[in-house]
């Protein structure tokens, strides 16, 4: 079979791959985004839709800065996507809340907030202040942390818009195209895929959990593991949640989503025990939700690095090969499309991205 050939191939059609591919696409450049089939694991499908700054990178300032920069550029991304595709991703960025359902939780949260730098913009609200922001909270709610930079979008519309905008800018989506392996070849790289070979001058690995096996083939490293999260979708309701709560949000169509869980489990099955724990917490936060009908529940896999921070890196042994992985595909979508993609296009990642090299996991060995 004759190999298809592109200037840049992005492996992965999820939120990370699609944001980067969209940022790379332009008429003079042949860019392909390789996507898997209908039952791919797809972290994007499980994304809760938060643009979340509070609490991120308290112990790793480069990550805090990268997150904040992305949040700041989100309205620019949303505007561009609407102009280019007509799709409104339902961005709302009026702040977000992390609820504490006991004095003990509030103490733990306050200690975290105390460690945050001023730039993180996170503050503690007591119960009275919170009642004004979120009427209807239950009697267990002791307080909350709040950050004005937080917000939410519709992650499914975002994925759809990124795909549509990528195609509108001249990019090619190749579906059902799982990548089996990738190697350096004539003038670049050759990918062996489910639909035949593909040649590329440059390759961006944004394959989520698939990066773990693909990255080492190009002298890169992506030691990622799966962490399961479960979500409950409730029936549509009149507006009742003016702000997203880290584990509860009301979508633009009125659906209320309740999450989430962090489980060391690589299956995408739901479990009734964890769903019950999520439901119990949501009912304690907003007692009136007890009457709401559950429409569906699902589980998806987060893509976690050992320290939970992203990896962005170009291969030293195979220049032109890049890896990108993170678990905050919505929050970082603006940074990926607007900041990261142009650096990949230029052929080198800037100094601000050096802290995200996977070399950080080798420090113990190097020392």
């Amino acid at each position: 079979m004759k190999a298809r050939s592109y200037d840049i191939v992005v492996v992965g059609g999820g939120l990370v791959g699609a944001a980067i591919a969209y940022g790379l696409a332009e008429p003079s450049r042949r860019v392909a985004m390789l996507d898997e089939g209908d039952r791919a694991s797809r972290a994007a499908r499980g994304n809760f839709g938060l643009i979340w700054v509070q609490g991120k990178g308290i112990d790793y300032p480069p990550y805090a800065a990268w997150t904040r920069a992305s949040a700041q550029r989100w309205s620019e991304l949303a505007t561009r996507l609407r102009e280019e595709t007509g799709i409104d991703v339902a961005l709302q960025q009026r702040g977000g809340v992390h609820l504490c359902l006991s004095e003990r939780e509030l103490t733990v949260r306050s200690a975290l907030v105390a460690r945050a730098t001023v730039a993180n913009g996170i503050e503690i609200l007591d119960r009275n202040a919170l009642m004004h922001l979120l009427p209807g909270i239950g009697s267990d709610v002791a307080g909350a942390s709040y950050c004005a930079a937080d917000g939410h979008v519709n992650p499914l519309k975002l994925l759809h818009a990124l795909h549509a905008a990528f195609v509108a800018r001249g990019g090619s989506i190749v579906s059902d195209c799982a990548v089996r392996n990738v190697a350096t070849g004539r003038g670049g790289f050759t990918l062996t895929t489910a639909t035949g070979p593909i040649d590329a001058a440059r390759v961006v690995l944004a394959a989520g959990l698939g990066n773990a096996t693909l990255a080492p083939q190009l002298g890169l490293s992506a030691p990622v593991r799966a962490q399961r999260g479960q979500i409950i979708a409730l029936e549509r309701a009149p507006p009742m949640l003016p702000l997203p709560v880290e584990t509860l949000r009301q979508t633009d169509s009125g659906t209320i989503l309740a999450g989430d869980s962090q489980e060391e489990n690589a299956s995408t099955e739901t479990s009734m025990g964890v769903l019950s724990a999520i439901a119990a917490r949501a009912v304690r936060a907003f007692p009136r939700l007890a009457e709401a009908r559950v429409v569906r529940c699902w589980a998806a896999l987060r893509v976690l690095t050992p320290d939970r921070y992203p990896i962005y890196q170009q291969s030293r042994t195979a220049p032109g090969a890049f890896v990108a992985t993170c678990h905050s595909g919505v929050t970082l979508a603006a940074a990926h499309a607007i900041e990261l993609a142009p650096q990949i296009a230029a052929g080198s990642l800037g100094a601000a991205l050096l802290p995200f090299s996977a070399d950080r996991f080798d420090v113990a060995v190097a020392n």
Binding site: D38, E105, A280, A290
Partner: protein, 484 residues
Amino acid sequence: MSPLPTDAVLPAACDVAIVGAGPAGMAAATLAAEFGLDAVLLDEHAAPGGEVYRESAAASAERRAALGPDYELGVAAIAALERSGAHHVPGARVCGVANVAEGFELCIAIDQDAGILKARCVILAVGALERALQIDGWTLPGVTSAGAAQRQLRASGDVPAGPTVLAGCGPLLYQVAQQLCAAGANVVAILDTLSVARFVRALPSAIEFMRSPYYARGAKLLKDVNETVPIYHDVLVLSALGNEKLVSVRFTANKRTVTLIADHLVLHQGIVPEIHLADSLGCDMVWNDTAACWKPRVDTWGGSSVAGVFIAGDGAGIAGANGAAHRGALAAIAAAAALGRIDTPKRDAAAVVHRQALAQSLRGRRFLDTLYRPPERFRIPRGDTIVCRCENVTAREVIAAVHEGCTGPNQLKIFVRCGMGPCQGRDCSLAVTEIIARERGVHPSAVGRFRARFPAQALTLGQLAMLPSSPADRLAVTRLPEDE
């Protein structure tokens, strides 16, 4: 609200849980109990019987006469169930079944309560659901399905007022027409979408059919209806018209387009296996080309691809009430063997009578399946016809998403929300699979179907919160260890 189980309502554990108290589930529960198994029969209705024997538990003398032999069969099955010692739990909605190390956990909702029933084996006897007939205007008030019209007639005796039109195909359409006429409804026409070509296609199996018990009943039904209601055959185009509600029905048959004023339109185009619970358990499904729907892959005992899960009755493929009962019995026999109650020779001996009766009741099925497969033009909608009524998604939008690169139903959910509503795709799943297959030029089995999500039945967040959770489950959610 209080968590289950409470001894009076729901036991905590059993040998075999049977879901659905229709002919298959009643037979399975009865026989399982007779083998000495601790059998729990769960059904959302107040009385056993399922759709077919719905009235057998408490019908008036007049209705008994009208119901004929079905009534007696239902009474006998219910009496056998009561004698058997199986534990029948009425009003129980089975929201989910999980495969756990020691067997299965069923999430049960009863009224405002919810809880878990543990079972070593599960027999799914959930029956069939109607295949939606998606025409222009099918979501208008005044348009209903034959099954819904029949349930309403039985439940309240309410007869639709004003001119009523029935459209589609399949035996139930004619049965409901007969019942509506008998109840005094103003049925102005039946619009049959079957083409003469289907009769030709079905002809090779017609002789077998004429020897089957279906034939005499079917022939009488058609004759009765034909004498009272005008029937239009070979209907090619069909739409329900009106803005706020149904006003008229327009159709084309014999190259003539006709508009009938109607207050009610009753649609039906056959029934298909209800597979949600089996699918969510990971039981293998296969696309059946004759019936144009998914069926679970089962062995001759009803055993699915998941050990310990048996599927009986119409949920394993449409075979009617009598066949369902024998498949229920076979599943119970296999479950008794799997749980060590009987050995293999005893299992095989017990099965003989049911296998013979099953073969008898399957005669004529091939003719019916071939004849009544709904025509493609009514299975696979086009244009602005709504496919997903929960999310208001049209066929045109589905087709556009496929050409944007959506290769299957689950990506389609992401792109256009099709199938994400409260019905979980029960109305649109088959149509979506077939639209994608047609647009991509591949077989439906290569397209797949929506993932079946928990819960399969209505459940509130408060009920979900009543289910037991382990400290590890709670820690995964709070990320804060308890009892520090």
